[in-house]
C-alpha cells in the first residue's frame, strides 16, 4: 500500500529535523517531505498528492498562511496546519477562514498525532 505523504515547511533546519525524528519514530506509514521555504514547498507539492502539511508561519519570503492558500489552490483536500509560537487572533481568524488548523510551537509527536487524527476524523 502506498504511503501517505506529509510536507514540513520550516526555514529552521532544526525544526525540520525534529519533525523528521517524530515521523521516523511514530509514523512509519508516512513519507515526509521537507522544504525550507514557500518556494521549495510549492515545487515539491507540484503534481504530488499530499495528505498533510505542517507549515511554519514566520519564514523568509512568503509567510505560512499565504503558502497555505497557494497549496490549497493546488490541492484543495490537503490538511494544513500552521505551526507557530505566535498565535494571534487575527491570524487565527484568517486561518479559520481558509480552513487550516494551528499547532502551537514547540511541536511534538503528540501534536502531530492529533493533527493526523483530525485528518481521518
Amino acid at each position: 500500500m502506498e504511503k501517505k505523504k506529509a510536507l514540513i515547511v520550516d526555514d529552521s533546519s532544526l525544526a525540520r529535523m525534529m519533525v523528521r525524528k517524530f515521523f521516523t519514530e511514530g509514523f512509519k506509514d508516512w513519507d515526509l517531505l521537507e522544504a525550507k521555504d514557500a518556494l521549495e514547498a510549492l515545487e515539491k507539492a507540484e503534481g504530488l498528492p499530499l495528505q498533510l502539511a505542517l507549515v511554519d508561519f514566520n519564514m523568509p519570503g512568503m509567510n505560512g498562511i499565504d503558502l497555505a492558500e497557494k497549496l490549497l489552490e493546488k490541492q484543495p483536500g490537503l490538511s494544513i496546519h500552521l505551526v507557530t509560537a505566535n498565535i494571534q487572533e487575527r491570524m487565527q481568524l484568517r486561518a479559520e477562514s481558509i480552513g487550516i488548523g494551528f499547532i502551537k510551537k514547540p511541536i511534538s509527536q503528540e501534536k502531530i498525532s492529533d493533527a493526523m487524527q483530525r485528518l481521518s476524523g
Binding site: 529552521s12 533546519s13 532544526l14 525534529m18 514566520n58 507557530t84 505566535n86 494571534q88
Partner: protein
Amino acid sequence: MGTRIETMDAIELDLLAEAFNLGLGKGSAALSELLGEEVQVTVPSLQILPKRPAIDQCAKRFDTEAHTVRQAFVDTKNASTFSGDAFLFIPQASSKILSRLLSGSEVSEAEILAELGNLILHSCLSSLADMIETELDSCLPEVHLNRTSDILIEIARNKNRCTGATGVEGATQKENQRRPLPLQDRVLQMGVQFKTLSREISGEVMLFLDLSQLPNLTVRVRDAVHRLVFG
C-alpha cells in the same frame, strides 16, 4: 586554557535562533493581545560579530531617537554558560502611542516601557534558557529614555576588556586586523523587528550574547541539539 571551538556550526546557531523565535512569538502574541491588533515580526537575524563594531553600529542606527529597555542576564545554573544583554528599542513616536493606548496618563512612559520590556525580553530569555536547559538570572529592566547610543557605548566600554594576552599591544594596526579576535571581543547578535499592522507602533529586539564563555555555551547547545534530534 585555550579552546579549539571558535564558532558554532549551522544547526547550533539554528537552535539559538529557533529559541529566540519561540520567545519572540510568545512575546508578540502577548503584545498583540494588549494592543488589540496584529503584531508582525521579521525572521530573526543571527550573526557573530566583533563586539565593539556591533554595538557601535546599533548605537548609530538608533542615536537619540529611540528609547531603550535593557535587561542584562547571566546563567546561574551552570557557572555562567552564557551572559549578555537583551535590548528593546522603541522609537519615541511609538512609545508615545503605546503609553496613550495602554494607560492614558495614569502610568509613566518609562513604566510602560519597563513592563513591555519585561514581557518581550523575558519571554526571549526564558525561551533560550529552556531550550538549553539552564536557569538564568535577569536583572530588572532598565529604561533609558532618549539615550540609546549613550547606553550602548557605555556597555561596550564597560565590558570591552580586551587583555594584552593576545599580544596585540605594540603591533601595527594592519597586524591587528589580521589577528583573529579573541572570544571576549565577539558577540552573538540576534535581532528581530516588529510592527503593528497599523504601522503606528514598531520596535526592535536585540540580544547580545557574550562569547567569552562560548565553549560552555556550545556544549549546552550541542547537548540540546542531540536531545531534540536524537533524543
